[in-house]
């Protein structure tokens, strides 16, 4: 078996792992009861899946570059850039959605404890800033 074939098989395995976790994320969106637990499935699984899919693309790009195909290096660098963007924006978006949901009054289903209940953090800070001015 040549190097080219081995790299192809590794890339296929990485793609399979990534697809599995992405499917799991979709399944979690259907099965969980409320917005917070659904966000758990939606962020963690899709980010992890995206890491593996991007990893397989990077591997194929490195292979193309090794066999002197000029598109390989561009593919590799752009995919790494996309991966960094996903890693930064995905948890931030989930945090924004969770916070918006809690502030508009969605209660976590079956919650054992809710330390945040009845607190209006943002309002007190904006009032304090006005007082400082």
């Amino acid at each position: 078996m040549s190097i080219s074939q081995i790299v192809d098989y590794i890339a296929i395995i990485l793609l399979a792992i990534g697809t599995f976790f992405s499917i799991l994320g979709g399944l979690g969106l259907l099965r969980f009861p409320d917005v917070y637990t659904r966000l758990h499935a939606g962020t963690k699984c899709t980010t992890f899946g995206a890491i593996f899919i991007c990893g397989s693309v990077v591997l194929l790009g490195l292979k193309m570059w090794y066999f002197a195909n000029p598109d390989g290096s561009v593919l590799t660098i752009h995919t790494i850039g996309a991966l960094i963007a996903i890693l930064v924006t995905n948890p931030t978006g989930a945090h924004a959605i969770a916070r918006a949901a809690h502030r508009s009054g969605v209660k976590p289903v079956g919650a054992v404890v809710d330390d945040l209940e009845g607190k209006t953090l943002r309002k007190s800070i904006s009032k304090k800033k006005e007082a400082d001015k």
């Binding site: 976790f21 799991l24 399944l27 979690g28 099965r31 969980f32 009861p33 917070y36 637990t37 966000l39 758990h40 499935a41 962020t43 963690k44 699984c45 980010t47 992890f48 570059w65 002197a68 195909n69 000029p70 598109d71 390989g72 290096s73 561009v74 660098i77 752009h78 850039g81 930064v88 995905n90 948890p91 931030t92 989930a94 945090h95 969770a98 916070r99 809690h102 502030r103 976590p108 289903v109 079956g110 919650a111 054992v112 404890v113 809710d114 330390d115 945040l116 209940e117 953090l121 800070i125």
Partner: protein, 180 residues
């Protein structure tokens, strides 16, 4: 002035990374990799100077702590080591809960005692991507975080605010070493 130079340089480097392989006038390594045309270099310089003028006060807030290269190596070690392991565990945990449907959720408060904005952002993102936890809100005066926890342990609730080790393990120590 220093803020403007730092912002412009970073923009220029990112622009160059996104446009490699655009021509064969300037070649660093070989003709397929790390080669640029004059047009891309000139346009990139003009654009990064414009961005540097506009965004210098947004990008550099108070000091130049993060310009130290050692901190970036620590950051890389953190991403590849404890963060990736935590993320793999998180996915197996979510897989288990998706299949069995056993959940025991709640929102708890932790106080990690981080001082900088960058550090608390990094910790909140790490918490969202690691086992069973999702950061919901932040107390901006004391830098306390409110965490939605999918499987609340009873022994963690005895002390308030909840001990960091149940939620995020050793992450605050790593992030303190990176950002403070």
């Amino acid at each position: 002035m220093l803020a403007f130079i730092v912002t412009t340089l970073l923009c220029f480097v990112i622009y160059l990374l996104l446009t490699t392989g655009s021509g064969t006038e300037i070649v660093i390594l070989n003709e397929d990799f790390l080669s640029w045309s004059y047009a891309e270099i000139i346009l990139g310089l003009i654009l990064s100077i414009i961005v540097g003028i506009i965004a210098r006060k947004v990008f550099v807030k108070d000091n130049y702590r993060m310009a130290n290269i050692v901190r970036w190596f620590r950051f890389l070690a953190y991403i590849c080591g404890p963060f990736f392991v935590g993320m793999a565990k998180a996915n197996i945990d979510v897989a288990y809960r998706v299949i069995t449907g056993k959940i025991n959720p709640g929102i708890v408060k932790i106080s990690p005692n981080l001082k900088t904005d960058l550090g608390i952002t990094m910790l909140a993102n790490s918490i969202t991507l690691t086992p069973g936890t999702l950061s919901v809100d932040i107390d901006e005066e004391k830098n306390d975080l409110y965490i939605h926890w999918i499987n609340v342990k009873k022994e963690a609730l005895k002390k308030k605010p909840v001990d960091c080790k149940y939620i995020c393990g050793e992450f605050p120590k790593w992030i303190r070493r990176i950002t403070e």
